[in-house]
Structures are given as C-alpha cells and as structure tokens.
C-alpha cells in the first residue's frame, strides 16, 4: 500500500509486520463477515477492520470494540480467499491498543491481565482466585455468584493453587517476552 501521510504508512506497516498477514490483499468480498458470529455484538465487520487498516485509520480501528469482542474463532481466516488470518490481525491491533493506552473494552483487557498474573504467579491458572480477583477489580461482584457457588460445592474450584517447581524458568519466560515486545 502507498500512503502520502507518514503516520498512516507507519501504522499500516506496523500491523502488517506484527500480524504477518498480507492485509493489502483484502478485496472486500466479505466472506469473513458473513461467517462471523461476533458481528451482532461488535461495531465493525472484520472486513471493515481490514479496510480501516489499509487506509491507515489508526484511531478509529484502535478504538473499536470489535478487536476485543472477536473470539479468535478463526472461521474468517479459514475461509478468506486471500489467505489472511484475520484473528492474527485482531491480536496485533489489541497489542498496539494496549501499548498506546487506547483499550476500548477495559474489562476484557482486565480479564487477560488477571489471567496472566495468575499463570505467572503459580505456573498454572488458579481459576477460583482468578475469577474472584477479576470480579473484585471489575466491580462486577454479583453476576455468576450462583454458578461459582455450585462449582465450589461440586469440588470444581480447589481452594489452594497448584504451584509448579520450575518457578525461575517461568519468570524468565514472562520477563524476556515482555522485554522483547
């Protein structure tokens, strides 16, 4: 793609490089959108997201809900006639939105952080405390209480986390991957 505006060019190139996807090939056939189960809940169709990236419309695309509501089901990518894995593009856009502090769906991002903190602390995610911390931090305390209780009663939410032995190695993986990106 060619751009007169340097910012637009940089944004396009950054998304293309991070996602490793041939975004310029999208010709708006909308095959992706027609099979996307998330569109009902999103603000843009997947092909619109790609168009905005092609046009370097950084703010609009980073501020969209769609990039967060996308469940990475990969239906679109499996069907795209141009071999664009759109879920990878959505992931790259989320990473850029986080870096630039432009996260539209704050709770979804909060969930990812809480989840990874749990993985980092114990090596494995302790679902009970992970859910409790998310609920506490998001302020959404009441929903799902009945389900949580039922799971606990059935012994599906163990109280203590399992801790792995190779903690040092795990820390290194988290530290090095954060430093690289």
């Amino acid at each position: 793609m060619s751009f007169l505006n340097g910012d637009k060019r940089n944004f396009f190139n950054a998304v293309r490089e991070m996602s490793r996807q041939p975004i310029e090939l999208c010709y708006q056939c909308q095959k992706c959108a027609s099979g996307c189960i998330a569109t009902e809940y999103a603000d843009y169709y997947p092909n619109e997201i790609l168009r905005m990236v092609q046009f370097g419309q950084k703010d609009r695309v980073l501020n969209s809900s769609s990039i967060w509501i996308c469940s990475s089901c990969e239906t679109c990518g499996a069907r795209c006639p141009n071999g664009i894995n759109i879920a990878e593009v959505m992931d790259a856009l989320k990473e850029i939105a986080i870096r630039e502090n432009k996260v539209k769906e704050k709770n979804i991002h909060l969930f990812h952080s809480v989840f990874l903190n749990s993985a980092r602390a114990h090596g494995r995610v302790h679902e009970g405390t992970m859910m409790a911390i998310y609920k506490f931090k998001s302020g959404d305390l009441m929903s799902d209480m009945d389900i949580g209780w039922e799971m606990f009663r059935k012994g599906k939410l163990p109280i203590l986390p399992h801790r792995i032995k190779a903690k040092g190695q795990l820390r290194k993986i988290f530290d090095k991957t954060t430093a690289h990106s």
């Binding site: 809940y41 499996a78 909060l110 989840f115 990874l116 993985a119 995610v125 599906k156 032995k165 991957t177």
Partner: protein, 284 residues
C-alpha cells in the same frame, strides 16, 4: 502404547469430569497417558491477545518437557491443544521465531514430538473399530449433535485434522458407541470461548443459538471435546434445567464401555444428565 499428557488448567477444576473420564477411558483402551511433569499454563487467549511472543513461549515450555520424555503428546483441552500446536507450527516453519523461543525457553527444538488432540490420538492410535469392539452397553436411543467448536479444527493448515468445515471424527465415535449422531449446521461454530466472564451477554447469545439449533435438529444432548465449549454450553443458558446436557466424548465412551466411574463424572455437570440417561435405561 504410551503418550505424554498435558491436561491444562481447566481439567484440574471446571472440567474435572473431562480429566477423570479421559484417563479412565484411555487406560481401559490400552493407551497409557503419562502426565507431563511440571507443565505450565498455555497462556490461552489471554496470552495471544496481549503478547504474541509469550503466546508461543509458554506452550513451547511444554513442548520442551514433552521432548524430554521422547513420547508424542496428547492434549485433551481444545484451547491448550490449539496453543501447543500453533507453537509447534511456528517452531517448525519460522526459523527466526524458533531461535528467539529457543533462547527464551532455554531448549533446543528437535521437532520430534507429534502434538495430538486427545480426540485425534484416540482416532489414530486406537481407532474407531477398536472402540466399537470395547462397547459393552451400546448407547441405544441416545440422539446427539456433535459440537467441535473452533480450536480443534482451525486454522486448518495448523491443526491438519479432519475436515474444518464438516468434521466427522466425533460423529464416527458416537456412532461406534451405538448412539445416533444427527447432522446439523453448527458443528464448528463458536461458543463464545473466554468471553463468558467479561461479556456474558455475548456468550449467552451464541450459546442459545446453538441450543435452539440442537433442539430443532432433534438432539437430546450435545457432545464436545473442549472444556470451554462444555462449560459455556451448560453454564451460559437462559434456564438451567435438565434438557440438553453437554457431554465430553470421553464420558460417552466410558458409559458405553460400562466403566464403573461414570457416575462420578456425571455428578459434576451443571446440567444433570442423569434424567436423560435414566429415561433411556442407560443409567440407574
């Protein structure tokens, strides 16, 4: 036959019945599962949504552990399977990434471990015929729809398993057990995955669409191979009665093989499957 086994975090909590039934069934079919020592979380959606490199590095740690055992790897959770398989795909096809990951995870990738979903391992190593031969109590009268979801079959160039638009592996197992698998158009749709906690309205919408389609097809239950699908299907519905429970495929194999532990697994469901099984004289 021996395989290493990476259960993943969900199988130790919300999907315990999958872990229990997978271990019992594999043992009964002569497939020894050796749990990877000190395995780590695959990072799931949270890693690939926020840090691409971490999303390859975490599952690669498990690949490194599997490599040390010298055995191929079986992964029951579709989400974990997808992450490990993607990491393996990257290590095989992307030299630059492989070098980075080898440095981060501190191992040398040898590309000798085959990564299988538990479903693929059972289909390819044991086979549908052998499963059928081990059936003691055919699941007569049970009509189900098979729900493969996303991560078992996509992206097709990575999973290389079954047909990504119309997979049949689960259907073949269900038929081998004597149950009826009803064709429907939603086999590989999405259940909403990990949006359950943050955007339960989205997942409820997706799940109810699936349940209505299953009912319309005439199904009594759904069959899955994924803890995310199973828990969303049972948890995120408008009313939780006893209609349309969601089984792990291993539970149905265990039931048909008349394994003694079945009752324990069924007690763990949020949708009690016993009334359905009793009505077909498949449980007491």
């Amino acid at each position: 036959m021996k395989l290493s086994y990476f259960p993943g975090c969900s199988l130790g909590s919300t999907a315990k019945e999958y872990d229990y039934s997978a271990r019992s069934v594999c043992q009964a079919l002569g497939m020894e599962l050796v749990e990877l020592k000190d395995w780590v979380c695959c990072g799931a959606t949270s890693a690939h949504s926020t840090n691409h490199l971490l999303s390859i590095a975490l599952p690669s740690r498990n690949l490194a552990l599997a490599q040390e055992t010298g055995l191929d790897l079986a992964v029951p959770c579709s989400a974990c399977y997808n992450r490990v398989k993607k990491a393996d795909y990257n290590m095989r096809h992307n030299d630059e990434m492989r070098q980075k990951i080898e440095e981060i995870v501190e191992f040398k990738y040898r590309g000798q471990v085959n990564v299988y979903s538990l479903l693929e391992a059972l289909i390819t190593k044991i086979g549908v015929e052998a499963i059928a031969k081990n059936v003691k109590k055919p699941l007569k009268g049970l009509k189900v729809v098979c729900f493969y979801g996303c991560l078992l079959v996509r992206p097709p160039e990575v999973t290389c398993f079954d047909n990504s638009e119309n997979p049949v592996a689960l259907d073949n197992i269900v038929k081998a057990l004597g149950a009826e698998s009803i064709p429907w158009s939603y086999k590989t749709d999405c259940c909403g995955a990990n949006l359950g906690l943050t955007s339960s309205n989205v997942v409820q919408g997706m799940v109810n669409r699936l349940l209505e389609a299953a009912k319309e097809a005439g199904a009594m239950a759904l069959v899955t191979a994924c803890p995310l699908c199973q828990s969303n299907l049972e948890m995120r519905r408008k009313e939780r009665g006893t209609d349309l429970p969601a089984f792990y495929f291993t539970e149905l194999i265990g039931l048909a093989m008349d394994l003694p532990d079945c009752r324990k697994w069924f007690n763990l469901h949020l949708i009690n499957p016993k009334p359905l099984l009793q009505s077909l004289s498949l449980a007491d």
